[in-house]
């Protein structure tokens, strides 16, 4: 379809793009990779876990507490059977519709005995919620 040097040029450009992209992939991997676990799995982690974690659990709405002096929230997440609970701290605004979300996703890191949350997420409403 094309002459030889053309093909070479295109292949060269492709190689550069792919190498560049793989470089980004590898260097960003540690920063943007997050381990997605449940409350049960979190309990089994060692206390000096340093990885970025996304924790899926059920928020106990009665446990939400605001510490005025430090300006932080504390709350607990539980597993489905309410066997385990994890203490979380969060410095930010709790989304107003959080408490009614059955399952929340918390992103953060382990800090001593707490899970320090950076970001609170829940399933977006574009996802159809009925179970079929």
């Amino acid at each position: 379809m094309m002459n030889f040097s053309m093909k070479k040029k295109i292949i060269l450009i492709l190689v550069i793009l792919i190498v560049g992209l793989s470089y980004i992939l590898v260097t960003n991997f540690r920063d943007s990779a997050t381990y997605y676990i449940t409350v049960e799995e979190f309990i089994d982690l060692s206390p000096d876990e340093t990885r970025q974690i996304r924790l899926a659990g059920i928020l106990d709405p009665d446990s939400i507490n605001y510490n005025e002096f430090e300006g932080i929230y504390t709350f607990q997440v539980k597993d489905k059977d309410f066997n385990y609970k994890i203490d979380c701290i969060f410095n930010g605004i709790i989304p107003s519709n959080l408490a009614s979300q059955e399952e929340v996703l918390l992103e953060g890191k382990m800090q001593e005995n707490f899970f320090k949350v950076n970001q609170i997420m829940f399933q977006c409403p574009s996802r159809y919620e009925e179970s079929l």
């Binding site: 002459n3 295109i10 992209l21 992939l25 005025e68 605004i93 574009s126 996802r127």
Partner: protein
């Protein structure tokens, strides 16, 4: 209760499409007279459309009448909902949105098979197969609607009240975002079906000029609907709390970006094909790919594959969709391979430093972009194979890839307008021909870098922004050049501006669409400089946030029917000048425990001041979150230019 008018209509639709498929096959085996096909196709495309329309009106009526005996209405509506949200609740759930989609499918099928004159002029065999594949798709949707996603279940007893529409869906975004996205997805089917029909019927569509004008128009429509759908979705996300930004690389968002990238590639491939008879295989693959990516997007949206930790394809929708995608891709590839002789061409791409060459590189970059996004989105599943637990790829990865590949794409777009279509162009030649532009480039770079040194900020964002600004200047330059050159042309002397624009509308509108996209991307760069503040504030207090002063005037409580709204009203000053009154509120819906928050936004060309009412701490005491994001207004401004460009493009020439 399963037997009712709605299901009867769906069932009739199913039976009819089965019969039509059989008749279509009999046509293929020449059991019927060929000249009856047109009448037949008109009828067989009208009947499913008519039946689906009646079924949809029936469901709509259930919503309007507050018939909570219907499970679907009960799930998504309540008697207090304003009429427009009762109507938009139609597509709030899986089953209803699928019915709505089927309505669009059958409408498009009726348009293509029954009305479109262009298609009616095509080869008989081609039309036959287009009709057959359309009927198969309609059948597939009827099956989905009758079994796993039925909108017409009824309770035995009548509940007094519906459970209401999720407050987050009570937004103008809900009225426009889903229908436009569905339109985009449904329109992407038409180019696909024409190509597949051509391959099956052994008709080399690459030799029929009209076919590619139809394919191009439908690809363009799909692209445009998807573009507005995505932008309105982003706008919706931006003004809803809990989402924060306009784009967060969520799997559902990524899934809508993938077909968009492929459709963009397909459009550019088709240009070179129509002009130079090259990139046949590439355009074909992009069209087929974009269709399967719309199915993939649907699958991601409707299954729990990628969000919830341990719920793997637990939903009945998942399996048929996945099977459909796999089978479809394999069949398409086999078809392409067995008809490979159609893809050969006497014409070759002769030089990479031409517009055709750059279009090829653009398309390769788009595919790489899509692959990287796909890889990131699917990484939790891929990682599952190798390690215990899931690994999710965060926004950092996507942002880097988007910045790098986006930068390459923008630079190529900027260069493209200076290149000749098929001949190599020397840089010196370009510079001499376009002196004025390069003088502007020099001036811009000079001022920009001096400002840069003053800001003492060195970052990739600023470099990227410089690139977008240079390309914006280049596009404006070409727009002006286009006007000046033809204005001086004798042909146009004495011609009114309206007539002039109409005669040049294709070129002008395409430059406008590109311009809109680059301005939008320039707006996106502001995200990298977002600042976030958490503050506690009392009524009457004035706090300083960067160069803004924010004064909490009052917190008022208002009741709206059975709902209660708590509004915090602020005065916003910039360097002690009162700029605006903004308010953020919590709306407590009856029946929902938690309030729905609406945000206060003060927007100017430099940045957005985005205020979120947090918690009520004491009597007159609340905490708030402020986000300052530069250039957000440019995102919406760019999108309006895209819309305007598209409107100009579809305007009839002899207006």
């Amino acid at each position: 209760m399963f037997i009712n008018i709605g299901n009867l209509l769906l069932f009739m639709g199913l039976i009819f499409s089965l019969i039509f498929i059989i008749i279509n096959i009999l046509f293929i085996f020449k059991k019927f007279k060929a000249n009856n096909l047109k009448k037949y196709q008109r009828l067989t495309s009208l009947i499913p459309f008519f039946l689906t329309l009646i079924a949809s009106l029936y469901l709509l009526n259930l919503f309007i009448q507050d018939n909570f005996q219907s499970v679907y209405v009960y799930n998504f509506s309540s008697s207090e909902l304003p009429l427009y949200y009762k109507i938009s609740a139609f597509w709030a759930g899986n089953a209803g949105s699928l019915l709505f989609w089927q309505l669009i499918n059958t409408a498009i099928a009726f348009f293509v098979l029954g009305i479109s004159i262009k298609i009616n002029k095509l080869n008989y065999k081609l039309q036959l197969f287009i009709g057959l594949i359309f009927q198969l798709k309609i059948l597939f949707f009827y099956l989905l609607l009758l079994i796993p996603a039925n909108p017409f279940y009824f309770f035995d007893v009548i509940p007094p009240e519906g459970s209401g529409l999720n407050p987050m869906l009570q937004s103008p975004g809900m009225i426009f975002h889903p229908p436009l996205t569905f339109l985009g997805y449904a329109a992407a089917f038409v180019p696909f079906v024409i190509i597949i029909a051509g391959l099956i019927s052994r008709i080399n569509i690459f030799k029929i000029k009209e076919v590619f004008s139809i394919i191009r128009n439908w690809t363009l429509s799909a692209w445009f609907f998807l573009t507005i759908g995505i932008i309105i979705g982003a706008q919706w996300a931006y003004y809803e709390l809990g989402w924060g930004g306009y784009w967060s690389w969520d799997p559902v968002e990524n899934a809508s970006l993938l077909p968009w990238l492929f459709l963009t590639g397909a459009l550019h491939g088709i240009i070179s094909f129509r002009r130079y008879n090259i990139f046949k295989l590439f355009s074909t693959l992009m069209i087929i790919g974009s269709y399967f990516l719309t199915i993939f997007a649907t699958y991601i949206t409707r299954s729990e594959l990628l969000d919830s930790v341990h719920a793997f394809g637990s939903q009945a929708m998942g399996v048929p969709f996945l099977l459909f995608i796999f089978a479809g891709i394999i069949i398409s590839l086999i078809l392409i391979f067995s008809r490979r002789k159609y893809f050969g061409s006497d014409n070759k791409l002769e030089n990479i430093s031409s517009r055709n060459g750059f279009l090829l590189l653009t398309n390769i970059t788009l595919v790489i972009f899509a692959s990287a996004v796909f890889l990131g989105t699917m990484f939790p599943i891929i990682s599952r194979v190798f390690i215990e637990g899931y690994i999710i790829i965060g926004q950092g990865y996507y942002n880097q890839i988007a910045a790098m590949l986006g930068g390459i794409l923008i630079a190529m777009l900027g260069a493209c307008y200076f290149l000749s279509w098929d001949r190599p162009t020397k840089i010196s030649e370009i510079m001499i021909k376009n002196k004025i532009y390069f003088i502007f480039v020099g001036i811009t770079i000079f001022f920009y870098t001096s400002a840069w040194i003053i800001w003492l900020e060195s970052s990739f964002i600023l470099l990227f922004r410089l690139l977008t600004i240079l390309v914006i200047i280049s596009l404006v330059y070409h727009l002006i050049k286009e006007i000046i050159v033809y204005w001086n042309d004798e042909k146009f002397s004495g011609v009114s501006l309206k007539k002039f624009i109409l005669s040049k509308k294709k070129r002008i509108s395409i430059i406008m669409i590109h311009l809109g996209i680059i301005i939008l991307i320039l707006g996106l760069t502001g995200y990298g400089q977002q600042r976030e503040y958490l503050q506690r504030i009392e009524v009457g207090e004035k706090i300083q946030v960067e160069e803004y002063q924010l004064e909490l005037v009052e917190i008022e409580e208002r009741s709206q029917g059975r709902n209660t709204k708590i509004i915090s009203n602020f005065n916003l000053f910039y360097r002690d000048d009162l700029k605006d009154n903004i308010s953020s509120s919590h709306l407590f819906y009856s029946g929902y425990d938690d309030p729905h928050t609406s945000v206060g936004v003060y927007s100017n060309w430099k940045e957005d001041f985005y205020l979120i009412f947090g918690d009520w701490l004491g009597e007159n005491n609340i905490n708030i979150q402020v986000r300052i994001t530069p250039l957000v207004k440019l995102i919406w401004f760019g999108s309006y230019i895209i819309y305007a460009g598209f409107l100009l493009l579809i305007l009839p020439k002899n207006l």
